[in-house]
């Protein structure tokens, strides 16, 4: 059984009768059992997957209507609710939380006969970019198991690139899909804000985050977007994409497109291998008829500080509900007074979440909001104006996804500010609501490099067309696992 096929190929193969959903699912589970001890992409695996695959095969055989996924095994980041299954956010705080409802993306994929093969590892409550802050231990990069796979959707990227599933859903608050996709040589997508419903996605920083696919190819991302985007009455922030078909015309190319190269995202400290890969990508795009030139977004310098200020504030509020009174983990309240119980209960947060709770209480507080939180919102506004200006001139913007190569596990975990700067190229898309994609483009010393493209709001389709064009210009080595 070839587990390395793309989502579109999988659908083709099942439709042609070459493979069955059951056989593919069984082989996928076997793969997980053989490699995941080493990689730790999963926090839990769906015991019922084989039965679900068998049911879908039955539907196929009897000629019943079958959803577009045909039993495709998909992994889901463990911050999205699947009814009656554990959703932990990789936190001890939600050790025993069983979601009583489906996230909108989950209902939509269920209708299309996808199989949720397991819940993917992540940084606790999505705060981090290495998966080292998972309360259940880090994931490993399949390209080099001593290295981080990136994060926070590290488990999603690992599971896709190590063939433990065909595709995955992650969430991207400041690069959390694109960063691990870049580090693991997968395609990672952050859609226009509001394109995908967040209902059932456990909030970290709700005003800027989006669910996004991690896939092997750009086409697979377009395929998934066709199923999970659109207005959702359960999420007032969703936007109407009028049932856009992201797959049609995906090979339209980039001829005549104007592309701006973001100067501030290739600044000092960027790895030379990353710079040269980006320059290579630019010349490949030029070779396809695009017109590329440098553009400056001055506010990018302040974007990381604004990003962490805003996310800490929102997280401080979003995570306040974890007081262990209505759900959470086993911890008796006998003998405690309200405040002392909650303080004790919240000790189940890991160190990074704890730190961000403190920052999230500090930066928007009465005495400090003006210096921190309000200023951050204003930077966000000015950055948005700048990028809107840029999109008047350019169809697309380009930059490396991450300024550095995948680094060793443990290398930066003790230096929070060093970790901040790894996000410098990705947070802009979140702060401004623009769609962005990371495309696998190079491998340097056995470590992947991804290239990031950005487009204006609701130009997701054009962005995917350009990403597909760029993807076609390289043939990358296979993951060595």
């Amino acid at each position: 059984m070839n587990l390395k096929i793309s989502a579109l190929d999988y659908v083709q193969e099942v439709q042609n009768g070459n493979i069955s959903a059951e056989d593919f699912t069984a082989a996928t589970l076997e793969r997980i059992h053989s490699v995941d001890e080493k990689l730790h992409a999963f926090l839990s695996v769906n015991d019922d997957a084989i039965n679900q695959a068998r049911e879908i095969d039955k539907k196929i055989k009897s000629g019943d209507k079958v959803g577009a996924c045909f039993g495709m095994p998909i992994s889901i980041k463990d911050n999205m609710c699947i009814k009656n299954s554990k959703t932990t956010c990789a936190s001890k705080m939600l050790e025993n939380f069983v979601a009583p409802y489906d996230a909108t993306v989950i209902s939509k994929l269920k209708e299309q006969d996808a199989i949720f093969i397991g819940k993917a590892n992540m940084d606790e409550f999505a705060m981090g970019l290495t998966t080292e802050f998972s309360a259940y231990g880090p994931s490993k990069n399949p390209w080099n198991v001593d290295c981080t796979p990136g994060g926070s959707s590290g488990g999603s990227a690992v599971s896709v690139s190590a063939f433990e599933c065909v595709a995955s859903l992650g969430s991207d608050t400041g690069g959390s899909v694109r960063n691990p996709a870049s580090f693991c040589s997968a395609v990672g997508y952050k859609p226009t804000y509001g394109l995908i419903s967040r209902y059932g996605l456990i909030s970290y920083a709700n005003s800027i985050e989006q669910i996004g696919p991690v896939t092997r190819t750009v086409k697979d991302t377009a395929f998934l977007l066709n199923m999970i985007t659109g207005l959702d009455p359960n999420d007032n922030t969703t936007v109407d994409n009028k049932n856009e078909d992201y797959l049609s015309g995906i090979d339209s190319g980039v001829e005549g497109k104007k592309i701006g190269i973001i100067k501030e995202m290739m600044a000092e400290g960027t790895d030379p291998a990353v710079i040269s890969a980006t320059k290579d990508a630019v010349s490949k795009l030029e070779g396809l008829g695009a017109i590329c030139e440098e553009v400056s977004l001055d506010m990018v310098k302040y974007s990381v500080a604004a990003y962490y200020t805003i996310t800490a504030t929102e997280a401080g509020s979003n995570l306040a509900r974890y007081d262990n009174l209505r759900y959470g983990y086993d911890f008796s309240l006998e003998g405690y007074e309200f405040n002392s119980y909650i303080q004790k209960a919240r000790k189940n947060f890991g160190p990074e979440v704890t730190r961000r709770m403190i920052i999230g209480g500090f930066v928007p507080s009465a005495g400090h909001a003006g210096k921190y939180f309000l200023k951050a919102l204003k930077v966000k506004n000015k950055l948005t104006k700048e990028i809107n200006e840029a999109f008047k001139k350019y169809d697309l913007l380009i930059a490396p996804t991450v300024p550095i190569l995948p680094f060793k596990l443990g290398e930066k975990i003790d230096d929070p500010v060093a970790l901040f700067l790894v996000d410098i190229n990705t947070v802009t898309a979140n702060l401004t609501g623009k769609p962005a994609i990371s495309v696998p483009f190079a491998v340097s010393n056995g470590l992947p490099i991804g290239i990031q493209l950005l487009a204006d709001s609701m130009n997701d389709k054009m962005l995917l067309q350009a990403a597909h064009a760029l993807e076609q210009t390289v043939k990358l080595p296979e993951v060595p696992i």
């Binding site: 009583p100 604004a306 009174l325 209505r326 007074e337 309200f338 500090f362």
Partner: protein, 88 residues
């Protein structure tokens, strides 16, 4: 500069009990100090913007009960009451 007392006060506000003091205080300090860069962004005159939704796009006022007995899926106590600790 953020003082240690301020950090402790905020921790209490957020119902966070900090034991390993130095570890937390130092890192939180470093993170907050980094935010000082915002002072040089020159954004005082900027507005704050938000997405908008027309009132007509909001949910209609209809009663649709949740399809399951939610309380049975939660931690609860004394019949269907949720129990909380005493309020001091």
């Amino acid at each position: 500069m953020v003082t240690e007392e301020e950090i402790e006060k905020v921790a209490k506000l957020m119902k966070i009990e900090v034991e390993d003091h130095k570890e937390y205080v130092d890192k939180v300090h470093a993170m907050i100090d980094y935010f000082d860069i915002l002072d040089s962004a020159g954004v005082d005159d900027e507005e704050i913007s938000m997405p908008e939704i027309p009132i007509t796009a909001l949910r209609e006022d209809k009663h649709i009960p949740f399809d399951e007995k939610l309380i049975e899926k939660l931690n609860h106590y004394k019949g269907t009451y949720v129990r909380a600790p005493k309020m001091s």
